[in-house]
Amino acid sequence: MREHVLILRILNAKKRLMSFIETTGSFAMQRATSFAQMISFAAAVFYRLFMLGTYNSATRTVLVNQIYFTSIQILPAFLAVSVLFGSVLIGIVFQLLKNLGLTDLFGNVLMGLIVTELSPLFTVLLITLRSGAAINTEMAAMKVNQEIKTLETFRIDVINYLLAPRVVNGIISVVLLSFLFSIVLMGSGILFSRVIFGISADVYVNILLNSTNFSDIVIALVKCAVFGFFITFIPIYFGLRATHELTSIPIVVSRGMVSVFAAILIIEVLSLLTKLM
């Protein structure tokens, strides 16, 4: 009798183990499939960005509106934050370098770390928080309201009309705002290098030029463009996965934003790896 119970228990445990493995496998497959779908969709959108037929008066109108909302509206606040945050940051970094006796390296730190790494990251986080979240919700609301069906009924391509202008806006905005942030940082650098190191503007510019790698700047610009692509593409992609129920909006928005954050980290790590190689 006891043996019988033992055998039953073993069988039960085996069944549970199998079920656990099956669930894990199915979860992994589901995730892999959805990731592959997202990447293939991203490739389709990327390809479409280079097709002339994608752009028409309607997409241009959307593009202008998107740039206005993402870059122009944010510009005064962005510049104010840049000046404030950038000056404090540059001041602290320069003082730290002076204390550590690494004054020689300030050009490398400014160009290699702050201008090419920190300013794109700061800009992309700011735009994601403001516009990425807005785009995600907007798309989810459009899906719930059946407005996507409207576009399809009137033979308006969703990629051309919704994705392309927003993604192009993402690329343009991140590249330009990040560049402006770098300019502000380098401007405050002139002031702080004079105060902390007693360096004149001419010498400062020369040191910056010496420590600037053309390839680093190109990598930083490409990184900004990739950031811009994904911080607009991912929110749209997840927003369009909403169902017709209102309750699906918060779900897709939170998923979208978490994915955007993961994408930002992955791109940052990849760019650092590119630099290391």
């Binding site: 008066s57 907007e138 309201n145 009309y161």
Partner: protein, 153 residues
Amino acid sequence: MTFFDTEEKLSRAVQKFLRVNPRNAAPVCEDIPLLSNQEAWLNIALIKQYHENMSAQASRKLVFNWLKRLGLESVADKRNLALGDKERFLVKLLRSAMVQNAAILINRPFNMVPQLKNIDPILQALKTIDDLYSSCHIYDYDWMEQKYGALCR
């Protein structure tokens, strides 16, 4: 004007209509809403801008002209939720009429404008914009026939 006795038949007929007119079908339905993040005039202009690459200024001028003809200039800059039922219907109708050689299909008009007593105001609007479309079809349930009055007989 075509009447159906069941929802299923009507739905099938709408699908068939869309299949038969793949390039110029222009439905006016309750479940094909206006884009809520754009003003009324942009919803109408979108068709011309997207399919004919008409510039924003030219399309705005065109749309305002047609809205004026329908007595709707005041709603041009309003968004979907700010529109009344009749205004929303007319904006949808004008949007459909913007399709080249439009084959307009009005699906259950009294569902969209419940306060209408008869079809006359809709026919009036269709007449005002009749040089914009090539054909117009109205689908409804057969128990709504009385609202169509003399047209059915």
